[in-house]
Amino acid sequence: MKRVVITGAGTVNALGHSVPETLTAMREGVCGIGPLSFRDVERLSIQIGGQVHGFEAEGRFNRQQMSLYDRFTQFTLAAAKEAITQSGLSFHGELSAKSGVVLGTAGGGVSTWDDNYRAVYEEGKNRVHPFVVPKLMNNAAASHVSMEFNLKGPSFTVSTACASSNHAMAQAFAMVRSGMAPAMVTGGSESMLCFGGVKAWEGLRVMSRDACRPFSANRNGMVQGEGAGIFVFEDYDHAHARGADILCEVAGFAMSSDASDIVMPSKAGAARAISGALQDAGLNPEDVGYINAHGTGTAANDKTECAAVADVFGPHADKLMMSSTKSMHGHLIGGTGAVELLACIMALRDGVIAPTIGYQEPDPECALDVVPNTARKAKVDVALSNAFAFGGMNAVLALRRV
């Protein structure tokens, strides 16, 4: 089996349009959540989100590209460019033939659905643009990355709600580890911040009207975000031989299914994914210094996640740090694990633990060190990234400092 390392990272999210901007914001505990701005927002009862501002398609893409790129594809292409540029790879010959792109998204081109339903239902139009289907399809972002960067190996899109990008990255990791691909572009993206996208979430009654406060006793729900996180996963020997800058190692992963409820999380399912990732990576619980929590800020997730961590780690649960950066960038749904992986890389590489901001009152059911409100310096050798999706589908990644 091959060792797998990360040699490039890119992102667009509410905290920044690049990895350095995002990590600076995470260090400073910046809140990227604010008033939403789009058509018909006044008809929503939830009017806040982690929206990406100042990212205009005009000037970035030509007219033909704009007619084919939904916003989730636009975010993906910008983040992929940053990641692949950082990796220093260019895909030709054998490397191109074997390397692919596996991405996660829950909704794909939600605003394309929204705009065109509005046109035919509300405005009574009987004709839509010919590219509606290739623009909204969930694999559009992965396809455009493959075309833009000449990736001709295995490529597809994974959709497991809030765990989509962790499942995608786990799959990409498995492909590089097995020797199937020398490098894979992976991660995920989401862009649901439009009238229909937020209206659908409102229906569940799990959304906060004021802030995302994970683990805080007065938390009152999740806040949606948008954006993309993209990485280059590479065979360690391949990266080492070309003298690439290695951001960290991907040491292992596990996936599990609760097989119990379509929305309520399960402690047992989460715990099996966490312990499975440790086992797969050949790590002891005591090796883990930081966990990037799923930490949605809902009553159910946060207490269940803390209980699962307590079960897996025993007394060590009180020594490790676990924060939720969703408090800053919001919940990117299918792209969330990818943006959150950046906090794990920052912990391993820079020794800075991103905080859980908005934390106001301790909750006895979330009695772990959640790094409240202020970033912390700490040397961390191993970090985990949790994602627990609706539908009871869980994926946890284990990363190691190199």
């Binding site: 007619s67 004709r127 643009h129 010919p130 590219f131």
Partner: protein
Amino acid sequence: MSIKEQVIAIIAEQAVLEPEDVTLDSTLESLGIDSLGLVESIFAIEEAFDISIPFNANNPSESDFDISNVASIIAGIERLKAEQG
């Protein structure tokens, strides 16, 4: 603008050319418009003239709408507009 001028403007925009570079005997292929560009042009023409063009991308030659060159496209639109009357 006449129908002819409007059609030429739409095709020129699709081909990323100036309208004066689009002549009546130009074929879409000679203007660099591929199959996706063709369906996009037809969409733009339908929107501009509020007509429905009987065109099936699976079998363009058997469609009841001649796209062999710019002049035939204009003639087809003029006929559809007249039928709409």
